[in-house]
Symmetry: C2
Subunit: 359 residues, 2 copies
């Protein structure tokens, strides 16, 4: 299939849902994608099996300081400079663009970057959701060496990092990003199609499109979305308290939702660090990272990003299982609750739900 301009709104809605509150404002990525598709034409969406083993895949994401997700629109020069550097380093041009992070703006914007480069977009990403740090990608969890980062900024600088590991990758990329004015486009883990197998989360662009389309025209958008996601409804209610501190672009805080209707008397607390990371009720967790937790408007089922949470909103909190990769030992070590400072043993969202049903 090809991604047409008319597909962008659905893709953006789906990426917002998969952003679990973070990943940057999808409207920014959607704007860039629509403009680029209008200018360069539709972008072919290809699967890994469609690519020759040695096809180079360039995972791209906007990086801001201090978080990966950054909604600044990058022009066409940044992806072109990165593609040129990749060609210089590998002796052949890239054959496909991949989103590093399907959640939020970085899930939609790669359509613009692929269009600008005249390349197909791979139906995959490196997270299956949104995460705030560079090393929180499937390629790292799969054990691929974090041995190359190529960055470019609005000024035109190109920086190539050969880090000794993922943590140095994060540290150096962040420093370059800050020096570049806190915004850069980044290619992390340039892959061959062969090395990408088992190291990326496949099908997530298609999934975002399906999620975005599930609610369109549905008589019960919320239920349509819940079914599409295979999600547990944690609570439906009213946002009664939002505590948010923005420290250097990083949002931390909590949101409190008091149940209404059938949920009257229940109180759910969301722990936020850009993304929604832990949902608790009476001190017991209902869902936790790396499982996905998204706050949606109860009526429209549109995802509400962390920055958009407001007192009084009528919301429903949905939670559903992450990609199995994140549930491995290395996956949980990289992006489990303890990686974010929560003293919680990871328990899958479906087990927590099952326990409540029988509890």
């Amino acid at each position: 299939m090809r991604i047409e301009e008319s597909d962008i709104p659905a893709l953006a809605r789906g990426c917002a849902v998969l952003g679990t509150g973070g990943g940057g404002d999808v409207r920014t990525g959607a704007l860039a994608a629509a403009r680029a598709v209008r200018e360069h034409g539709p972008v072919p969406l290809v699967g890994l099996p469609d690519l020759d083993d040695d096809t180079l895949i360039v995972p791209l994401s906007g990086i801001g300081a201090p978080t990966v997700s950054h909604e600044m629109i990058h022009g066409e020069d940044e992806p072109r400079r990165i593609a040129a550097e990749v060609e210089r380093l590998f002796g052949r041009p890239p054959g496909a663009v991949m989103s590093s992070e399907i959640g939020g703006s970085n899930g939609v914007a790669p359509v613009a970057w692929a269009a600008a480069l005249g390349l197909p977009l791979l139906d995959a990403d490196g997270m299956g959701r949104a995460f705030p740090e560079v090393q929180m990608v499937s390629m790292y969890v799969a054990g691929l060496p974090a041995d190359l980062v190529v960055m470019s900024d609005v000024a035109g600088n190109v920086v190539t990092i050969r880090p000794v590991d993922g943590l140095w990758s994060e540290r150096l990329a962040r420093a370059v990003c800050v020096a570049s004015g806190s915004s850069a486009l980044m290619a992390d883990y340039v892959l061959t199609a062969a090395s990408a197998r088992g190291a990326v989360v496949e099908g997530t662009v298609g999934r975002a499109l399906a999620i975005g389309r599930a609610t369109a025209g549905a008589s019960d958008p919320l239920e349509a979305l819940r079914q599409e996601l295979g999600a547990v409804r944690l609570v439906t209610g009213k946002l009664t308290d939002v505590e948010r501190r923005t420290t250097g672009g990083f949002v931390r805080g909590t949101a409190t939702i008091e149940g209404t209707g059938a949920d009257r008397g229940r109180t759910l607390t969301l722990e936020l660090q850009n993304e929604n990371l832990v949902a608790t009720e009476d001190g017991a967790p209902l869902a936790m990272v790396p499982d996905l937790i998204t706050v949606v408007d109860t009526e429209t089922a549109a995802a509400i990003q962390t920055e958009g949470l407001r007192y009084g909103q009528r919301v429903t909190v949905l939670a559903w299982p992450c990609d199995p990769l994140w549930r491995t030992g290395k996956g949980l070590e990289t992006a489990g609750p303890r990686a974010f400072g929560y003293d919680l043993e990871y328990t899958p969202v479906e087990e927590l739900a099952e326990a409540r049903r029988h509890g």
Copy 2:
């Protein structure tokens, strides 16, 4: 000729003189150089005319934050990783090492780096002295594009920067350096022998050796040094006041020298910013950057670096002309008094001396 272990002390003394107070403690570079020569053998010193036009020259310097000069000893891995990256980028290995900065530790340490790489050292550098900022090099003044920086740190990371200009080069290299723990080895302006002609300060390693040797066994070391440098003696006296503030590794301050003997009654003030930048008497300048101003021990003629200035020292201040490159419009714009924040019209040290003789 070849640089033997027995040459290192003279080279270090000369580099201290050319460091005009800055450039990092030469003892650190001397230690590394002596050790490497002992292990790998003497280092051939070659001139530009000895090299084929397409021979790659790698200018190396230790970079600290916030100044270029950094006296941390880099092991053998950093130059090897940089050489490997240069070979990868250019398709052929480097053929010679050059000191980016002959003044201070960075003038001596390249002997160690050349020895570790089994390469000759080019008898040239990028300053003919010491300067604190990345863009204050002859290659920049000569108009060579600042289009490539290769850095490596103790951890083993390699970062390649393709900056759009010299100021971005400085900004990004500095950021990477800070993230690397404030110390890295850097190759700036990888040159071919052809492009180096007219863009480097030739003969400065030989000059440092000659300066270091001039005082050895001399009955009047101070006069021997003055003659070797072609320097003006600004004052001989006693250090009566040293004001120094170290802000993030950058030393700023003033030193006051009260004349003794024939200079009794005179007071000379030195403005310091890592290097000795301006010498004034009764508010009138006697010498100013980019001309070289060095404080030496009156008895031994050993250079005293800025960090070593102490109340009561018996010192003589010498000043002599910089390389003609620094007296061009671009040279003065890059490293003249105004580039350091002094509201002074640059006047060559020999003209100021001539005017005093007739004034």
